[in-house]
């Protein structure tokens, strides 16, 4: 198992290198706009553009640029390790920016994940066990609506109703839990939770709906397995048939899904962040692409890729623990 994990970790490094290469080709080799032109402002002189190109390093040969990028990534740059360079938009450290934005995206993702698990799994269980009941039909209606409703629509609607009209919810924007050097305005656990509540919910609804459907399907399938009949034939009480034998089989596949979904959102929950004006990784990535901010694009892409491959490894390890048939060597 240890050897397996080490091998997988080495592979993660390889995958991430490939990702940097691909990102480099897409954005550096075929850029949509010259970042230097964008940065130079209106009516720039050719000398100014050349000067900015020199500062950005985009005047060098492409391969040299990539080598310098890799060198900074592995050995660090003027902002420390890992070196992601400076943003073309404000000439500030990309790494610093990412660090200050990561808590926003993590808060959003983790909170939403807890909500969608707490909603989706129980709804799916009830609905799978009481098939064709009123509860099942109501759940499946919720699931249909939940997967159909766009996050930005639901988010704006919630802001309009609960904040603007009723005034019972906190406004958009992010409020940190702890005061740090960069903190402007309020902070603390309650304001944080209050401002997170609607984004959490808006983000969680679609996933909760999807998870409810998935769990329902898994329950239906598991409860018709032969081993459930065996459990009943042993004379086990129905609740241990369902909650021990049934759920174990039905919920194990959810782990895979959950790991991937969380990892995907940690890379930036773009729509939710935009809707609720939260300065997270997603919004940063979005602005980086719009402004051809190449170092920021590289950094956000690499972070997103890292979360995905790392979550993959975690999921595989957890799965081996949950399902004894799965063994790695």
């Amino acid at each position: 198992m240890i050897r397996y994990i080490i091998r997988r970790l080495l592979w993660i490094v390889v995958v991430l290198m490939v990702v940097t290469g691909l990102t480099f080709i897409i954005f550096y080799v075929f850029p949509t706009t010259d970042p230097a032109v964008l940065a130079a402002g209106r009516n720039p002189t050719p000398q100014l553009i050349a000067q900015i190109r020199h500062i950005f390093g985009t005047d060098r040969p492409l391969f040299t640029q990539y080598l310098i990028f890799m060198k900074h990534l592995f050995l660090g740059d003027q902002y420390g390790w890992p070196g992601f360079g400076f943003s073309y938009q404000d000439l500030q450290s990309v790494k610093q920016e990412m660090y200050s934005r990561l808590p926003v995206t993590i808060s959003l993702t983790v909170g939403a994940a807890v909500i969608w698990l707490l909603m989706g799994i129980p709804i799916g269980i009830v609905s799978g066990l009481r098939r064709r009941s009123v509860a099942d039909r109501a759940s499946m209606l919720f699931a249909l609506l939940g997967v159909s409703v766009p996050i930005f629509w639901l988010g704006l609607l919630m802001l309009y109703v609960f904040w603007f009209k009723l005034g019972i919810a906190c406004s958009s924007g992010y409020v940190p839990i702890f005061k740090t050097a960069g903190t402007v305005g309020s902070y603390g656990l309650l304001p944080w939770a209050c401002h997170m509540a609607m984004p959490w919910f808006a983000l969680a609804v679609g996933y909760a709906a999807f998870y409810a459907r998935m769990v329902r399907g898994n329950i239906l399938e598991t409860m018709s397995e032969d081993y459930i009949r065996t459990a009943r034939a042993k004379g086990l009480p129905e609740r241990s048939v369902v909650f021990k034998h049934g759920l174990r089989g039905a919920l194990t596949p959810v782990v895979t899904m959950f790991g991937m979904d969380v990892a995907f959102l940690l890379g930036g929950a773009i729509i939710t962040e935009v809707t609720f004006d939260m300065q997270g990784i997603g919004l940063y990535a979005y602005r980086a692409v719009i402004n051809s901010d190449l170092p920021a694009i590289q950094a956000t892409t690499l972070l997103a890729a890292f979360f995905i491959v790392f979550a993959n490894l975690i999921v595989d390890i957890v799965y081996a623990y949950l399902d004894p048939r799965v063994r790695y060597t």
Partner: protein
């Protein structure tokens, strides 16, 4: 004959479906005494499994319409509340299923699954229960049972899994063991071992055994009585030797002729022509008449009753007894 352990009287199990009422079991009666082995034989959809699942109280479809009586040790199981039925199931009646690959939970250790069965009925510590479980695994012929108890089902071969299933079914020393096609999913070489094991344990535990199978050949030497079922009804009942050496029902003849044999001079197997009837729209008269080479007018009009021919041996067929004996001698005995 001793007081029967289990007596099923006129059992009917019907399932309403969108296409109509499925009469899976339609008026079946049989009884079994302690120490006896009963074979229930029939093809897929004949109602053999459903009737025994009903006896175990394992029909979970709420819409199922169940009528008749299932008297087990003096009480009618069909009238018992669910929680009382649960205390009988597993403790006084054990069941072994067809496919040991899918009948054990893949995520739990074999020993723990047996321990769970013990602790569902007896107030024992996990340690005591595990000792019992290991002892039981030894008795069903699993080598190194203390190590095997700590393994998962996927680490067992098919035959070993079925042994573990048998251990689980017998660990509480039940009075009745129901084996639903216990050898169908196993290699031929393992089949005989499992049947021998069941027979041996039946004597050791002094239990009654019901073996459900579609293969008359399999149960030949292991059953005292055999009941042949077709389309939800019993078509023939008798002692094992009556069925093998003087079967009275054309369907049983068909089953006998379709047993693969090495010792008889038969070039090819003789399958029963046609398909089992729809359990929603049964043929008029005898359910078997469309497939029966000996059917005559009466068979298409009137449903035959299960009538005793000589004491223990009964069949549901309109043919005259003399004709049945003649046809068996001339056509069936030669090839089977």
């Amino acid at each position: 004959m001793a007081e029967p352990l289990l007596e099923v009287k006129n059992l009917k199990v019907h399932f309403p479906t969108e296409d109509g009422l499925v009469k899976a079991v339609d008026g079946v009666s049989f009884s079994i005494s302690p120490g006896e082995t009963l074979g229930i034989v029939g093809e897929s959809g004949s109602g053999k499994s459903v009737s025994m699942l009903t006896t175990m109280g394992l029909i979970t479809r709420k819409q199922a319409i169940i009528e008749g009586e299932v008297i087990f040790e003096g009480q009618d199981l069909l009238k018992l509340p669910a929680d009382e039925m649960r205390t009988i199931r597993g403790a006084k009646m054990g069941m072994v299923f067809q496919d040991p690959m899918s009948s054990l939970h893949p995520f739990f250790k074999v020993g723990d699954q047996i321990v769970e069965a013990i602790r569902a009925h007896q107030n024992l510590s996990k340690k005591q229960a595990m000792e019992q479980a290991i002892d039981m695994l030894r008795r069903v012929g699993i080598p190194r049972p203390d190590e095997r108890a700590n393994q998962y089902p996927h680490e067992f071969s098919g035959g070993m899994r079925q042994r573990a299933m048998i251990a689980m079914a017998l660990v509480l020393n039940p009075d009745l063991l129901i084996a639903d096609e216990p050898t169908t999913a196993l290699d031929v070489t393992v089949q005989a071992q499992i049947l021998d094991l069941i027979s041996r344990l039946k004597d050791e535990f002094n239990a009654a055994v019901v073996i459900i199978t579609h293969d008359l050949g399999v149960v030949a030497e292991h059953c005292d009585d055999i009941q042949v079922m077709y389309a939800g009804k019993a078509v023939e009942f008798g002692a094992s030797r009556d069925i093998y050496y003087s079967a009275h029902h054309p369907y049983t003849w068909g089953l006998l002729q379709s047993i693969a044999r090495l010792d008889a001079d038969v070039d090819r197997l003789r399958p029963i022509k046609g398909l089992p009837p729809s359990l929603i729209f049964l043929p008029r008269g005898c359910s078997f008449n469309p497939r029966c080479p000996y059917a005559f007018d009466r068979c298409r009009q009137e449903e035959p009753e299960l009538v005793p021919a000589n004491g223990h041996h009964a069949s549901a067929c309109h043919l005259a007894l003399a004709d049945k004996e003649r046809i068996f001698k001339e056509e069936v005995a030669l090839t089977s």
